[in-house]
């Protein structure tokens, strides 16, 4: 089935069926959800790569579709993440209060995603965006907290309103038409600047970038365990999509920085992206909850995507698009591993966990591979995208953005290692002696994502060639890719060779290891303790405030943004109190006064 409209209707229909099925039997309803998403994924993959999907619309009024490489690239990544996560549903839904609606909302939000990426009209785009926000808003509070949903909704709505205003400007500017392609092309002058800023506000809000990032850790950290991977791996990428529309398709005619050959607007956005990288990294280093830590890392990676799209050349765009894929895979992998741990232990707080590797070795491996990619270390996908972004930043000579980009890259070693050390390694806690590895159905997506993380790092050529189509579509020249090697602007990289050499190195080390005398196995508690008798494994587990000396250096500064938003909320409340005091008085005279004043204001034109 290659029709976009039918796929959307199919998702709505299966959503309703899965609602009824889940009501009757959770497992059955969840399995039905898996197959529905799988069907959509297979249909997209079968027809979409060469843009052979059917665009005709027969049933949905006022909606029209078109296909672009850009939209398809985003859609296939997000549907893939949805598919992988849906395998987790059978094991989690029973805990939730409104479990029957979970699968329904999940499938409806996927329908929204398909619509948003394949539509050709701004109004439809806005409609589908709202569909996604409204459905996911009811998914988030099924986790730990309702506040998380409020925060998510608040920032999303702020972004949506900004986008709507931008859409109105485009509508008026483009001869009352909502068409995306002509609307963006027709922009010029101050209108272009307004739309640029408004769309970027929407992009930053969705992507959770500085300074609109407050919702990200709250929502990611408190969302249901199987929904966090979707939020981080898939939904924040909507922000990247709007960022592409704003940064690449609209170039407002502001001044240029000749030293870097960049428009000022783009450079300012790159600096904001840098702030996002640094802020996200520092907060992630400080965080004690594994899921919130990964949420801050998403913020930092969102910064990389922003930086990549604001450096105006094909190489950087390739890096940005590849980073979207690499980060979606890495963060989905990491969040799913944490979810698997949380299922058996009931917590994601790092200080309450330890030594899970002995019980869940495969989950550990999945997390390890995901974080290697996240930290941008070969042979995983994150290295390729970061390499491309580094090249672009270096070639433009962006020194200050460079500081942020390198800081985030090295800083990511620090924060990704924390859950590894505190949660999986270290002493084995007695309270978790009985836990078991995740069931086979949860391991299927784990293995697939592990494989893809490695594949994107070893053979990026095919994917980069596909990304070249997108870059061509946006009017820039792509990058040169051969079978194994990637040509950057100042050097060549052969990821397959790097992986092979790494494998050879490991093989040599393994031979050395195996040839030498066999070691004697000892218990984890049998360690050097300076001759003290330590009887409790909790005392030998170093996990609380892991980077304490580093954290102390920026402790005072770390809650600036929270304070700012608290103060802002307080100011809004004060404004509300003022309005209440002025307009909603119990005094009759005041009310009459305002009625007359407003009437005068409204009729002012007529009287004069």
């Amino acid at each position: 089935m290659g029709s976009i409209e039918l796929l959307i209707l199919f998702l709505v229909g299966t959503g309703l069926i899965s609602y009824l099925l889940t009501k009757w039997n959770t497992f059955l309803g969840s399995v039905f959800t898996i197959f529905s998403v799988m069907f959509v994924f297979v249909s997209l993959a079968a027809y979409g790569f060469n843009l052979n999907l059917d665009e005709t619309v027969n049933y949905l009024p006022g909606i029209s579709f078109t296909q672009t490489y850009l939209g398809f690239y985003f859609a296939i990544i997000i549907v893939f993440v949805y598919l992988m996560v849906s395998f987790f549903h059978p094991y989690y839904l029973n805990e939730y209060k409104y479990k029957d609606s979970y699968n329904l909302l999940f499938l409806l939000s996927l329908a929204g995603i398909l619509g948003a990426f394949f539509t050709d009209s701004f109004l439809n785009l806005f409609f589908f965006f709202e569909l996604i926000i409204w459905t996911t808003m009811f998914l988030i509070p099924q986790g730990k907290s309702r506040e998380a949903a409020v925060s998510y909704f608040g920032f999303s709505v702020a972004g949506s309103v900004a986008m709507l205003l931008g859409i109105f400007i485009i509508f008026q500017n483009n001869g009352n038409s909502f068409d995306i392609a002509t609307g963006l092309a027709a922009l010029s002058g101050t209108n272009a600047i307004f739309v640029f800023v408004l769309f970027l506000i929407a992009a930053f809000a969705k992507l959770g970038s500085f300074p609109l990032h407050i919702w990200l850790p709250i929502a990611h950290g408190n969302a249901p365990h199987p929904f966090s991977p979707v939020l981080s791996g898939a939904l924040v990428k909507l922000g990247a999509f709007i960022a592409v529309l704003a940064l690449i398709r609209i170039v407002p005619a502001t001044g240029m920085f000749t030293a870097m050959d960049l428009p000022i607007g783009q450079y300012v956005v790159a600096l904001l992206g840098s702030a996002s990288i640094i802020f996200g990294t520092l907060m992630a280093i400080k965080e004690d909850d594994a899921k919130k830590l990964l949420a801050y890392s998403s913020m930092s990676h969102g910064g990389y995507i922003i930086v990549a799209f604001s450096v105006m050349n094909g190489l950087a765009f390739a890096g940005g698009f590849y980073h979207i894929l690499a980060h979606a895979l890495a963060s989905a992998g990491a969040f799913m591993a944490i979810a698997a741990v949380a299922r058996v232990t009931g917590t994601t707080k790092m200080k309450e966990l330890g030594g899970m590797i002995h019980k869940m070795p495969i989950t550990y491996l999945a997390y390890l591979i995901a974080i290697i990619s996240m930290a941008g270390i070969p042979p995983m996908g994150g290295f390729i995208s970061k390499w491309l972004i580094f090249q672009a930043v270096i070639n433009k000579g962006m020194v200050f953005v460079g500081i942020a980009v390198f800081f985030g890259s090295v800083g990511s070693f620090l924060y990704v290692f924390r859950p590894l050390a505190a949660l999986f390694l270290g002493q084995e806690f007695t309270e978790y002696k009985g836990v078991k590895e995740a069931p086979i159905m949860m391991l299927i997506p784990t293995f697939i994502i592990m494989g893809l993380n490695v594949y994107t790092g070893v053979f990026p050529a095919g994917i980069l060639q596909y990304i070249n189509n997108i870059i061509g579509e946006l009017g820039y020249t792509g990058i040169t890719v051969s079978t194994y090697a990637i040509n950057g602007s100042n050097g060549i990289l052969n990821p397959a060779l790097i992986s092979l050499v790494f494998a050879i190195g490991v093989a040599i080390a393994f031979v050395i290891f195996i040839l030498l005398k066999k070691s004697r196995k000892v218990d984890l508690m049998d360690t050097y303790t300076a001759a003290n008798f330590v009887h409790d494994e909790h005392l030998l587990h170093y996990s609380v405030d892991f980077y304490a000396p580093l954290e102390r250096l920026y402790e005072k500064q770390s809650n600036w943004m929270t304070k700012f938003y608290t103060a802002l909320a307080e100011k809004v409340k004060e404004l509300g109190r003022l309005a209440k005091y002025l307009f909603m008085s119990k005094n009759m005279a005041t009310t009459v006064f305002w009625i007359i004043a407003i009437l005068l204001f409204v009729l002012g034109g007529e009287i004069l």
């Binding site: 290697i372 460079g402 990289l493 070691s519 004697r520 360690t527 050097y528």
Partner: protein, 306 residues
């Protein structure tokens, strides 16, 4: 790429190990003489390593062993990419050299990650504290260093190490330590951090945290970590030689420059105390970062290169 390339690569890694272990031994003697001792024989380090490899050790589970293998593998892999001179380079094909600078920074990180994993897997809190300090130190020295390298790559338009070497050797161009004096100083300070020499020795700190990451190791695991350490020192010092000292056209030039850089770093190290870990961070983010940015602005935006 043929099998010969890979054999050359393994040869370079082996050469690096032998070279650094010998020079390390000689340096122990030099330091001994400085302190009015005789010092050990120059091949003492070889004896230490082979003795360790032959001993029976304890293991704290599979991750403890797997981490060591991954660490040593990553370092050997990184060393295989390292060019010794313009010509001696394992992976090059019709004039295209596959020795991109970022391989050295990030493939090295695989090795470090393996070691950190293994150390944390031992279940000893000292090891975790050591790992924490090592990663924090890394966050400190990498950023100024990478800003200087950003300047170099922007200037030469090359990220291949051989390319950067050849750029410096061209007539009319100076070595980068002369062409960009501020950057050169930052590079050397960062090198001290990478090597874990005093005053940046905080993550080993034997008297303070019982050798940090190494606390639980013995026997073959410790021996393999010693090999790892020697090869990673080889990679780091060679990087400095190639980036700032104009690389080498023949192997003797390389040996002389290598020996000079390592010995100089070692001498400085021996007259210094140790920073606390937060002092390491504040130090690197104050002067070296400022110098690196100044140098970058001077070179990239003003184009002033000696």
């Amino acid at each position: 790429m043929t099998i010969v390339n890979f054999l050359i690569g393994v040869g370079i890694a082996l050469f690096g190990f032998v070279l650094q272990t010998s020079i390390g031994g000689i340096n122990r003697k030099i330091v001994g003489r400085m302190q009015k001792r005789h010092g050990p024989r120059w091949y003492q380090e070889f004896i230490d390593i082979f003795k360790l490899l032959s001993k029976r050790a304890v293991s704290h589970g599979w991750i403890f062993d797997f981490g060591v293998i991954m660490a040593l593998g990553g370092i050997i892999g990184t060393a295989m990419f390292m060019p010794l001179t313009n010509q001696i380079l394992a992976f090059s094909n019709n004039g295209v050299n596959y020795d991109n600078f970022f391989i050295f920074v990030y493939l090295l990180a695989v090795g470090m990650l393996g070691m950190a994993m293994s150390a944390s897997g031992s279940g000893n809190p000292w090891a975790s504290i050591g790992v924490m300090r090592a990663l924090t130190t890394m966050l400190a020295y990498e950023v100024p260093f990478l800003i200087v390298v950003l300047t170099i790559i922007n200037l030469t338009n090359q990220s291949s190490l051989t390319g950067i070497m050849e750029y410096q050797q061209m007539a009319g161009n100076n070595w980068f330590i002369i062409a960009m004096p501020l950057g050169g100083i930052v590079g050397f300070i960062s090198l001290m951090g990478m090597l874990g020499k005093k005053p940046f020795e905080t993550y080993i700190a034997p008297a303070e945290i019982a050798s940090g990451p190494m606390v639980e190791y013995g026997g073959k695991q410790l021996g393999m970590l010693f090999i790892l350490h020697e090869i990673s020192v080889f990679i780091e010092v060679s990087l400095f030689v190639h980036l700032f000292l104009g690389g080498a056209t023949n192997i003797f030039e390389f040996l002389i420059k290598y020996f000079a850089v390592y010995t100089f770093a070692n001498l400085i190290s021996n007259v210094n105390g140790r920073f606390k870990i937060d002092q390491v961070v504040t130090f690197f983010y104050k002067w070296p970062l400022l110098m690196a940015v100044t140098q970058a602005v001077i070179v990239i935006y003003f184009g002033w290169v000696i």
